[in-house]
Symmetry: C2
Subunit: 207 residues, 2 copies
């Protein structure tokens, strides 16, 4: 992987990058700090100048993953850009599903960290942020549904429970797609279509 000599003080970022690469490669579960340090040409004790323990490093890359996904979501339905047409809102809904599922597909082991033990205390970044101004991924879903409602495309105003359900369905689809056993979801695209179409049905789309 990376084997450029680390300049004094760059170790922290180098370790994060290394971990991210292992995540992309899907080998992060068996990542070893000693091996990482060796790879970066540094003693194993040096790691502990930058992270309290192994979990702290993993948490850091989970944190970054969360922000990345959150940003992707916000780009699809920007905070002050409500959909002006039902078509656009529907398209955005599908894009949200596609983005979520694609992210899982592209970062399988990071994804497991994000929604497993490591990410437990960081999920609020995606779901509900204490800072009100935050506009989380969850908010994006909610706003997009509200757009549909405002445009008269839903039978009733979408509740938070609706958002949670849609999120669950999408999350589940991502998870099952990841390890797409014989449930051979033909291919990602079909899953996205199916999921977002039924998401709409579930929240009472009147089309």
């Amino acid at each position: 992987m990376t084997d450029v000599k680390i300049r004094r003080g760059d170790l922290r970022e180098a370790l994060i990058t290394h971990a991210q690469e292992e995540a992309k490669a899907g080998t992060i579960e068996q990542m070893s700090l000693r091996h990482a340090a060796r790879e970066l040409g540094v003693s194993s004790g040096a790691v502990y100048r930058h992270f309290d323990d192994k979990d702290a490093l993993l948490q850091e890359i989970v944190l970054r993953g969360m922000h990345e996904l959150k940003a992707k979501f916000a780009a699809i339905r920007p905070k002050d850009a409500p959909a002006r047409s039902v078509e656009l809102a529907l398209h955005r809904g599908r894009e949200l599903v596609r983005t979520y599922i694609q992210f899982a597909q592209d970062n399988p082991s990071l994804w497991h960290l994000m929604f497993g033990r490591i990410g437990a205390e960081l999920k609020h970044i995606l779901m509900c942020d204490p800072e009100e101004a935050s506009y989380t991924a969850f908010d994006v879903c909610h706003e997009n549904m509200l757009d549909l409602w405002r445009l008269g495309a839903l039978k009733q105003e979408p509740s938070l429970d609706d958002v949670r359900y849609v999120w669950s369905a999408t999350h589940g689809a991502a998870e099952l797609t990841l390890s797409h056993q014989r449930i051979d979801f033909a291919e990602i695209d079909a899953v996205c279509d199916q999921t977002s179409e039924r998401n709409m049905r579930a929240i009472g789309f009147a089309g």
Copy 2:
């Protein structure tokens, strides 16, 4: 935990039981074979007379978990007991959701094993079994939906895609409930109701 002296030859089952206890306690991620062996009053090498490696032991308890869940499903909608009323089919549908979510709640870390790396090659037990006669959990869901269709309660015949979607939604609900961050699903029961109600909407329940 268990500290009865192991009779010669009982080690295998004792190890499985021990692992299951660790799973129930939610500590299986950091389970150690050496520690388990010590706990059972046996040398660490003895373990390898019964399991190729650590993963093999984990796989065994995943296998048993799968069969347990599958059995619970089959009990709700037995193979040759189609629902005679819409009410019953709806009730069964809710019970399936409840069972799934409750199972995750009761066995959090086993559940992660089941749907993570370890369980990857065993999912067919739940989803689609090569032996046709098997009647998997997936089949149960499908049959229950077909019951609704036969009783005239659905707008169209439920497809495999419908089953997959409903499964995804339920699976996602279970996962999000497990680590119910601020998304504080009021309590399990409410999630079950919400999930199964919207599941019905998604597959075109005409009620």
